[in-house]
Subunit: 313 residues, 2 copies
Amino acid sequence: MYLNSFEKKIFNFIKTYKIFKKCDKILIAVSGGKDSMTLLNVLYKISKINDYKLGVAHFNHKIRKESEHEEKFVEEYVNKFGLEYHYENFDIIRYSEDSKISIEQAAREKRYEFLFNIQKEFKYDKIATAHHLNDVTETLIYRLLRGTGIYGLSGLMPVNEKLTRPMLTVTLKDVEDYVTINKVEHVVDSSNFSLEYTRNKIRHKIIPEFDGIFDNYENNILTLQKILWEYRNTVEKEFKKRVKYEKNEYIYEIKGDIFDSEILRLIFMKNKNYPPNYEETKKIINMGSKKQRKIYNFLIFKNKRHLHISQLK
Amino acid sequence: MYLNSFEKKIFNFIKTYKIFKKCDKILIAVSGGKDSMTLLNVLYKISKINDYKLGVAHFNHKIRKESEHEEKFVEEYVNKFGLEYHYENFDIIRYSEDSKISIEQAAREKRYEFLFNIQKEFKYDKIATAHHLNDVTETLIYRLLRGTGIYGLSGLMPVNEKLTRPMLTVTLKDVEDYVTINKVEHVVDSSNFSLEYTRNKIRHKIIPEFDGIFDNYENNILTLQKILWEYRNTVEKEFKKRVKYEKNEYIYEIKGDIFDSEILRLIFMKNKNYPPNYEETKKIINMGSKKQRKIYNFLIFKNKRHLHISQLK
């Protein structure tokens, strides 16, 4: 099987970051737009080498009248390839009104819920989405401005449990060239329909200004991102090394380095809570022995150099 | 001595980051523009509390005809306060032509050379420059696009040996308000005269777009910056803990975490060389035992899990 340079880039990225194993059963999220149709085409080729079993999931947001057409397009395309096909219709506008959240948030929530349900029900090893390097840059700038620590800067990961992003190594421009050269069929991308104001401004006003400042800035950002992924792994390792979980209590020793704070924040995140902010974190790390603080329903007690963190019922 | 909230912010920043000690002799770099005249005014007030001895250094680039006027303005102002005054005239345009470097680079190089010469000759404990939070953001974006690791993201530090930046905690807007409210005398800032294309685009095209995306994004960036400063300290600590320097050789053990690469890069930087890039760094870290690589005039040899790094004569 001959792979061109674009496909090879993705192939190598999958290998380096151990995104899939041979013979994995992979569920590809396909809207029908350029990005996801490219992912489908490339993974189909690579599946001939690595014996992946592919399935496609399409989520119809029912937001615009084109939705019907898109659904048909994806289904017919998938049938030609003879892949498993899953779809769901969901009235996002109604749901967002009922639950009083933004359309963007509602769409994301329900789309991922659908993907994970299919993944479990049909025993897929991995879910693959078509995020690319421009999404990495967008997320990086978004988080910088919204506020984040180093851990949060690591943003989109190539693998996050079942969720994978094999295209993080290629730019939107690369995808567009691939679509043109290989005449990849697609519908006009509808994934941007509900882009919130902030994301929209970053994508359409700020990122275009980056072009022409430094050639190839995207690859510089990819390199930083790789380093940030390593940092995240280092934090996870230190967590395992330093933290004991006993009798519903997390216990770890303050060592005076950057991981003191990262571990504290991670304990909150692992329990699906927002971590305390920078100042609060500092206060906890630096409080005296026998002192305690309460954040949400977490009780944090210090004994000499050890923090004891428990969740109140 | 009563300090207003702006002055207090700087006062607390100086205290938290141990920027100056009581009775320090401080050389303030003053162009005569808003930023540096604000720094001069604020440090003058704080000096009454902390017994600093202040001196002012003015560097005349001789680039524009206003330079003469600026020099006079600064000298007269400083005389009113009765502070030590140092200045130098230097023909930057000629120097940049002769040495074939950009005016921007020439100006920076000669300005710092002047500051450090004065600092040594007149035994100043510290040099203070008027960089503020907007400069932090600008540097962060600049480095993101040019390419950097986490260490490099830490950008402008509050203290870097003799060089200090007591105003990193306030924004340009804060400075402008302070100047207006307190009628701080200044000349129209000439420090931008030679701003290179890249910096110019970031300052005037990209950063203004950040306003209105997230309120107070500057403070989010300051928080990230504080975390990055801690990261940098952690790297320096790990360096001291892990690296031995014996018989002109740096020796350290590869431990499989993010500091393996950071330490390698730091060894190059401490010897005033550009560090190897990401791919090269990975190759060195991962090379087999008894293998060696040469980068510039550094010889890197691996023995089991230890790297031995020496500089060839």
